[in-house]
C-alpha cells in the first residue's frame, strides 16, 4: 500500500512547473525579433522574482507586452479547459467527455457572442461591461451541459453513446447558430467566426480581464479540488458512492457549476479550443494515475504546457502567417479521440 502523500504530489507538480517554465522560455523565443534563450530565461526569472526593473534590454517591451501576455493567456486557457475536461469526465462518468466534444464550448461561445451583442445596448459601466462576456459564456456553458446531460439520459442512467452523440449534435447546432449570428448581426466585435469556432489566442486583452480570468480559475479550481476524494469514489460508481459517504447531489452541483465556469471563462477569451480537456487528463492519468487529488493539479499544469506548445506551433508552422490554436489541438486531439473510443468499444 502506497497511499498518496502531499510530498509526492508536490514533486509531481514541481516537475511540471519546471517543464512549463522551459516551454514558456522556448515559446518566447519565436517571433519576428530574434532573442537568445539564455537572455529569455534570465529575464523571465527576474519577472517571476519581481525584479522586472532590472531588464534593461530594448527587447523587454516586445517580450513583456506582446509575447508574454499571449503565453499567459494560453496558460490560463489550457489549465481551465483541462480541469473542466477532468471534471466533466468524472461528473458524467465518461472518459471521453471534453468541453469541446460535448458542445459546452460552443454553448459558451454562443453565450459570449450574445453578451457582446447585448453590451452596447445595456449602457453598463466599462468594467462591468467587460465582465458581461465571460458571465454570458458561463451561462451558455451551464445551459449546454444541462441540455447534453438530459439528451444522454436513458431511464435515469447516463448512456455513454447517447451522451457523446447528443454532445456532437448540440455542438453542430450551436456552431450553425454562431455562424448565423456572426453573418447577420453587426457588432463592434472584431473577432471573427474562426475565433469562436476554432479558438485563437491572438486577441489582446486588458489587464483587468486577465486578473478576472485568473481569479475565476483559482476559485473554480479550489472548489473542484475540495471534492477530489468524492470524485474518486463517484468514478467507482454512483450506487457505491451512496454507501461510502459521498453527498452525490452536492458534489455534482458544485462540480457542474465550477466546470461550466472554467469553460465559460476560457471560451470568452480564446473561443472554442478543442480536445485539450480530453488529451491532457488522459496523458496525466497515464503518467500519475487516476487519483483526482493528483489528476486535477497535474492536468491544470499539463493543460497549460499543451496549449502554450500548441500556440507556439500555430505561430511558426506557416510563418509569417498564423494558424488558430484550435486547429493544432484538433489535429492532435481528434485522432486520439477516435483511438480512445475504439479501445473502449473493443
Amino acid at each position: 500500500m502506497r497511499p498518496l502523500t502531499f510530498r509526492k504530489l508536490f514533486f509531481q507538480c514541481l516537475l511540471l512547473l519546471v517543464i512549463l517554465f522551459f516551454v514558456v522560455v522556448v515559446a518566447l523565443k519565436f517571433g519576428a525579433v530574434p532573442v537568445s534563450l539564455y537572455a529569455l530565461g534570465r529575464d523571465l526569472l527576474r519577472v517571476l522574482l519581481g525584479q522586472s526593473s532590472q531588464i534593461s534590454s530594448d527587447y523587454g517591451l516586445i517580450i513583456q507586452n506582446i509575447r508574454l501576455p499571449r503565453i499567459l493567456l494560453g496558460i490560463l486557457v489550457g489549465a481551465s479547459l483541462s480541469v473542466a475536461g477532468t471534471s466533466f469526465q468524472a461528473l458524467l462518468r465518461n472518459p471521453l467527455a471534453d468541453p469541446y466534444v460535448l458542445g459546452v464550448s460552443s454553448g459558451a461561445a454562443l453565450g459570449a457572442i450574445f453578451g457582446l451583442i447585448a453590451e452596447p445596448h445595456l449602457a453598463l459601466p466599462p468594467d462591468l461591461g467587460a465582465l458581461l462576456t465571460p458571465v454570458c459564456a458561463f451561462l451558455g456553458a451551464a445551459a449546454t451541459v444541462a441540455a447534453v446531460y438530459f439528451l444522454g439520459r436513458r431511464q435515469g442512467q447516463i448512456e455513454s453513446n447517447a451522451l457523446l452523440l447528443g454532445g456532437v449534435i448540440t455542438a453542430s447546432f450551436l456552431s450553425a447558430v454562431i455562424v448565423f449570428l456572426m453573418s447577420t448581426v453587426n457588432t463592434s466585435n472584431t473577432r471573427g467566426m474562426v475565433f469562436w469556432l476554432m479558438g485563437d489566442l491572438s486577441t489582446s486583452f486588458q489587464r483587468s480581464v486577465f486578473l478576472f480570468l485568473a481569479a475565476g480559475f483559482f476559485v473554480a479550481m479550489g472548489v473542484i479540488y475540495a471534492t477530489a476524494n468524492d470524485l474518486n469514489i463517484l468514478l467507482t460508481g454512483e450506487k457505491e458512492a451512496l454507501h461510502l459517504g459521498v453527498d452525490i447531489r452536492r458534489v455534482r452541483f458544485v462540480v457542474y457549476v465550477a466546470a461550466s465556469l472554467l469553460t465559460g471563462l476560457a471560451v470568452s477569451v480564446s473561443g472554442a479550443v478543442g480536445y485539450v480537456g480530453l488529451i491532457v487528463p488522459h496523458v496525466m492519468r497515464l503518467l500519475f494515475g487516476s487519483d483526482h487529488r493528483t489528476l486535477l493539479p497535474t492536468s491544470a499544469l499539463g493543460g497549460a504546457i499543451a496549449v502554450v506548445i500548441a500556440d507556439t506551433l500555430a505561430r511558426i508552422v506557416v510563418a509569417p502567417n498564423e494558424l488558430p490554436v484550435g486547429a493544432v489541438t484538433a489535429v492532435v486531439g481528434a485522432p486520439l479521440f477516435i483511438y480512445l473510443l475504439r479501445r473502449r468499444l473493443a
Binding site: M1, E240, G245
Partner: protein
C-alpha cells in the same frame, strides 16, 4: 424507558451468551411504495414490516424475485425513505443521518459497477475510510493500518497490489467485503454476496462473515437466494413474498415444507439436522 433502566432490566434473549442483549437495529412498521409517476398506482409496494436485530447477529432476508428483499435492504441502508414507519440504528433514525454519518455506521456489499479507470486493490479498500476523514485529505497511517487489517480479515492481504479487473470474482467479492469492513460499521448489509461465486467461495465468504460478526459485533443483514446457506449461517430469517414479510424467526421455525413450497413454488423437502439447523432439498419433477 430511560437508558439506564433499560440496561438493568434483563431481557429474555435466547442466545444472549453469543449475541448482545441490546437492540441495535429496529425496523418499526416500515412500508414503501414505488411508482414511476406520482399520479399512477404504485408499481411496487412493501407492506408494513417490522423486525429487530442485535449486535453480532446475522439476519438473512429470503424470498423469490420481486418479493421486496432488495427494497427492504435499501431502506435499511438509508438510501430510500420509508413511506411510513421508521428504522432506528442504535436509536437514531437512519434516513435522517447525513451521507457521511451513515457511511460511518452502515456498510453495503453489492454487485459492483464496472470501473472506468484501473484501480489497485488497496486503493479500492482505502475508499472505505472516506467517511471517516475530512473531504480533502491524504490517508493517515491509521487508515492504511485499518485497510490492511480489513484485507487480512478476509484473507486477501496478498492481493493488495493487484489491479481490480485482474482478480477473480471470488477474490473481488472478498475485496469488496474488506472495503466494507474498513468502514468500521455497526451494520453490515450484503445484497446477494454469493451470486456468481463457486461453492467453495460461497462457504468461505459466509465463514468469514460469521467470524467477523462474532469478533466485531457487526449486525449483518444479508439478502440471498441460497436457502441452505441461510439456514446454516443465519440467526434470524426474514421470509418475504410479493412485498410482504411473511415470517421472522430462527431458521428452524421458518423452514417448514408447506410454507417454503408456497413461497418458492417448487416441491421440496425439509430435514432437521443434528445441530438444530434445517436443510432443504429441491425435489426434481418426477
Amino acid at each position: 424507558m430511560s437508558p439506564s433502566r433499560s440496561s438493568t432490566v434483563p431481557r429474555t434473549a435466547p442466545e444472549s451468551t453469543r449475541l448482545g442483549t441490546e437492540i441495535r437495529l429496529a425496523v418499526e412498521q416500515v412500508s414503501y411504495a414505488y411508482s414511476a409517476n406520482p399520479s399512477q398506482a404504485p408499481l411496487f409496494t412493501l407492506e408494513t414490516t417490522s423486525f429487530q436485530a442485535r449486535p453480532g447477529e446475522i439476519v438473512a432476508i429470503l424470498g423469490p424475485n420481486a418479493s421486496g428483499k432488495s427494497t427492504l435492504l435499501q431502506l435499511i441502508a438509508g438510501v430510500l425513505n420509508p413511506l411510513s414507519g421508521r428504522i432506528l440504528l442504535n436509536g437514531f433514525v437512519i434516513h435522517s443521518l447525513t451521507p457521511r454519518t451513515r457511511a460511518q455506521r452502515i456498510a453495503m456489499v453489492q454487485q459492483e459497477s464496472r470501473l472506468l479507470f484501473p484501480a489497485r486493490v488497496w486503493e479500492f479498500v482505502l475508499q472505505g475510510r472516506h467517511a471517516h476523514g475530512r473531504s480533502l485529505r491524504f490517508e493517515s497511517s491509521n487508515d492504511v493500518q485499518i485497510a490492511q487489517d480489513a484485507l487480512m480479515q478476509v484473507g486477501a492481504a496478498h492481493l493488495s497490489d493487484r489491479l481490480m479487473d485482474q482478480i477473480s470474482g471470488g477474490e473481488k467479492q472478498r475485496v469488496i467485503l474488506a472495503r466494507a469492513i474498513a468502514q468500521q460499521p455497526l451494520l453490515l448489509l450484503l445484497d446477494e454476496p454469493t451470486l456468481h461465486l463457486d461453492i467453495a467461495a460461497q462457504v468461505g465468504l459466509l465463514d468469514a462473515l460469521r467470524r467477523l460478526a462474532a469478533r466485531y459485533r457487526y449486525t449483518v443483514i444479508v439478502v440471498t437466494h441460497e436457502l441452505n446457506l441461510a439456514a446454516e449461517y443465519a440467526d434470524q430469517i426474514l421470509l418475504m413474498q410479493s412485498g410482504r414479510c411473511l415470517r421472522v424467526g430462527p431458521p428452524a421455525a421458518i423452514y417448514q415444507r408447506e410454507l417454503l413450497e408456497q413461497v418458492f413454488q417448487v416441491p421440496l423437502k425439509v430435514e432437521m439436522r443434528g445441530h438444530g439447523r434445517p436443510r432443504v432439498t429441491i425435489l426434481a419433477d418426477s
